[in-house]
Symmetry: C2
Subunit: 142 residues, 2 copies
């Protein structure tokens, strides 16, 4: 896929949210999609600086916040380390957390989703209206 083509896709994605498609936002969004795992704001900044040396860390924070507000990315809670992490993949998925390497790996499983849906539809929760499910599985890579 030629680079101008992928830029176009990113632009469309931004347009769909009502956010202005600035150069900074395009590279930040691209970095989020490119970076493995769930990068911190600081990691995104390092990545982005490769092509945009002037892009400031403050802008990364502001931009990530507006992405979250627009529903374009979501925050991922990290039990270890202070930093918030971000995930550009907003489709329903779960996380595998390796205690050895500290990696957080995305894990999609439609069968699991269906199982959870069915379970809570049948059983309900006392005083709580569930909206989304996210399973954190801790363990080790093999």
């Amino acid at each position: 896929m030629p680079p101008d083509r992928s830029a176009e896709i990113l632009r469309d994605r931004l347009a769909g949210t009502g956010l202005r498609a600035t150069r900074q936002r395009l590279v930040i969004l691209e970095s989020l999609l490119l970076l493995p795992g769930h990068p911190t704001a600081e990691q995104v900044h390092r990545q982005v600086r490769a092509t945009q040396p002037l892009l400031s860390l403050g802008t990364v924070y502001k931009t990530l916040d507006s992405f979250v507000a627009a529903g374009l990315v979501r925050r991922v809670a990290a039990a270890q380390g202070a930093a918030r992490r971000f995930d550009a993949d907003c489709s329903a998925h779960h996380h595998l957390h390796c205690t050895a390497t500290q990696e957080i790996i995305d894990y999609c499983d439609p069968q699991l989703d269906a199982l959870l849906q069915k379970f809570f539809a049948a059983r309900g929760l006392p005083g709580f209206q569930p909206r989304t499910f996210s399973l954190h599985i801790t363990g080790t890579k093999t």
Copy 2:
């Protein structure tokens, strides 16, 4: 239950981990068990100061870290806010996260645990050895 009795229980709990049962650790552990939800280090510090005005925030951090290392409490990832939160209940449980109030509510469900166990025992995960499961359910209190 008389106060000296509960102190004894806390002391036993610390002794079981090999950690020294200092006055500071006792009040910190007690606060963790008392405070609703999943307090931050800062919240624990405020609570603890009621009875131990000299107990420093630094000590709260150090102590919480050693509790985690000893397996006495565990960290809870908070998607919102920068702070780490702690949970003194180490039995297997899940979390309900109310997007309206930002509360994190513990949720125990042995049937759910059994369901997940069975599901992953039957299916396995590619390249990953699961150890614990924790389901994060976001939604709203009703």
